[in-house]
Symmetry: C2
Subunit: 289 residues, 2 copies
């Protein structure tokens, strides 16, 4: 669907470093060596949150989804704009709580809310967050830079995001991603939003490679089967590919720096056409009917 | 409502030149003398467009609303992100047409679509456009810079935007606004989205002034009464306040530069507390139930 829409658009200008298909759009800003990172992300009632979910958690989730994408590019978030389309019956108090959740994320991850919009709908509520971040061009990590032989890692544990409530209270891996981008040759990185089984093939496709993982190595949340760890989605963990000569140094220095965030080597990017380890697992397609 | 939400947020950082309550957020970018302009704007099915409206026109409107806000700050649009939340039954063809309308606006007004998101809803469709623009800091025009005595102008004609179809096919006054910001001491400017009767008091409040207009001078679309010209909204014309010493020069040079866009002097900003000429006219409040 996205590929089809891309054909309707003019080719991007020379100022666009990454665009549709990456975690963020990356644009050369007015200052040399600096990239602006742009991301919009939305949560829809009945899809990404339930009517009875606390509004503060919905606000946290809406903001942190965008933070997670900025992080996955190696950047820092700076400014957010919030668009709330509310159905009849959703109170001013709900909106206050939503903003409290967004503001809490802003304090933790260093962005300010600079504006937004309120509208009403006769349908389901939608909260959309547009986030602007920045990154030093040398630390920008696209989804597309992986090479065959790069070692694949994931942070945290995967699966059962909905049942465990993780999808509402997750902590985007901003510190981890900044540390990685500044110290290692991370060649490709993305956040896991649709499940490893959807997202890893996307990274491989963008990089022009295949992949070979051992599904038994994929770190699982308590109670999650391998299939659910691969397919559930909404993990908001990092998946990245790193120069194999640096994998050992990473594994030895990570635990001291991030003692509470697990780091797991799950496999490698492989030559194009080789796709091993996902079996029949399928990630989540937000746009499937 | 917006004022209430603002109290929940931290005060903006030093990098924020304009924020909530202005047409755009304006942020100091990494380069001195340059401001980034950020805007999100959304259109909701059943509110801002009807199910039977052509998708291409809906796309044009969604994009041009954001362009209009960037223009009203004196800036130029550069990059757009598009979030489409579509109800069941809205086809891929509808989405193609929507993107064609957005892309048409991009060609005309100089922005690129750099990404976005697709999601499904069980309710009404929503199209949200996040636009990033830029402006030389010396040409940035806030809503809040007006002074008592400044002369008020509007472009175009007002009222009956829905019936006439203008709300779907309007042309944002980007060229006009850029020309004004570069050549005149425009002290305050905004685009008219909720109707002069709502928007003029907002400009006066932001500027710490009152206003005195002659409602008979307000330029009306064919068939519009004074009340409808003041209150209908979705005009997407410019309202601006200019140093009175420059009003004559503006009026004499405008017609040569913009022969097809009417320019009308409607009154002045006045001392605080004086609010004349709107009578009981009321603009549109998108957030009223």
């Amino acid at each position: 669907m996205v590929a089809r829409l891309m054909r309707l658009l003019r080719p991007p200008g020379a100022s666009m470093v990454a665009g549709i298909g990456d975690d963020c759009a990356a644009i050369r800003g007015p200052k040399r060596g600096h990239l602006l990172l742009l991301k919009t992300d939305c949560v829809v009632e009945g899809r990404h949150f339930a009517q009875q979910d606390p509004a503060r958690a919905v606000g946290w989730k809406a903001a942190c989804r965008a933070v997670s994408d900025i992080a996955a590019c190696g950047g820092r978030p700076g400014t957010a704009l919030v668009t709330c389309v509310l159905r009849a019956g959703q109170s001013g108090r709900w909106l206050d709580e939503l903003y409290r959740g967004i503001e809490k994320a802003g304090r933790k991850f260093g962005f300010h809310v600079a504006g937004g919009e309120l509208a009403r709908t006769d349908g389901a509520s939608v909260v959309s967050v547009a986030m602007v971040g920045q990154v030093d061009a040398r630390e920008f990590v696209p989804r597309s830079g992986g090479r065959a032989g790069d070692v694949l890692f994931v942070t945290g544990v995967l699966g059962r995001s909905l049942e465990s409530g993780w999808h509402l209270k997750f902590c985007p891996r901003l510190d981890e991603a900044r540390w990685l981008a500044g110290r290692f040759r991370v060649r490709a990185m993305m956040d896991l939003s649709d499940g490893l089984a959807s997202d890893l093939p996307r990274m491989a496709r963008a990089s022009g490679t295949g992949f070979a993982i051992d599904p038994r190595l994929v770190p699982r949340r308590r109670g999650a089967t391998v299939g659910r760890a691969l397919g559930d989605g909404e993990d908001f963990e990092l998946l990245f590919a790193i120069d194999p000569r640096e994998a050992g140094r990473l594994e030895s220095s990570w635990p001291r720096r991030f003692p509470t965030t697990r780091l797991t080597r799950i496999g490698v990017l492989a030559e194009r056409g080789r796709c091993e380890g996902l079996g029949s697992a399928k990630g989540f397609d937000h746009f499937a009917r």
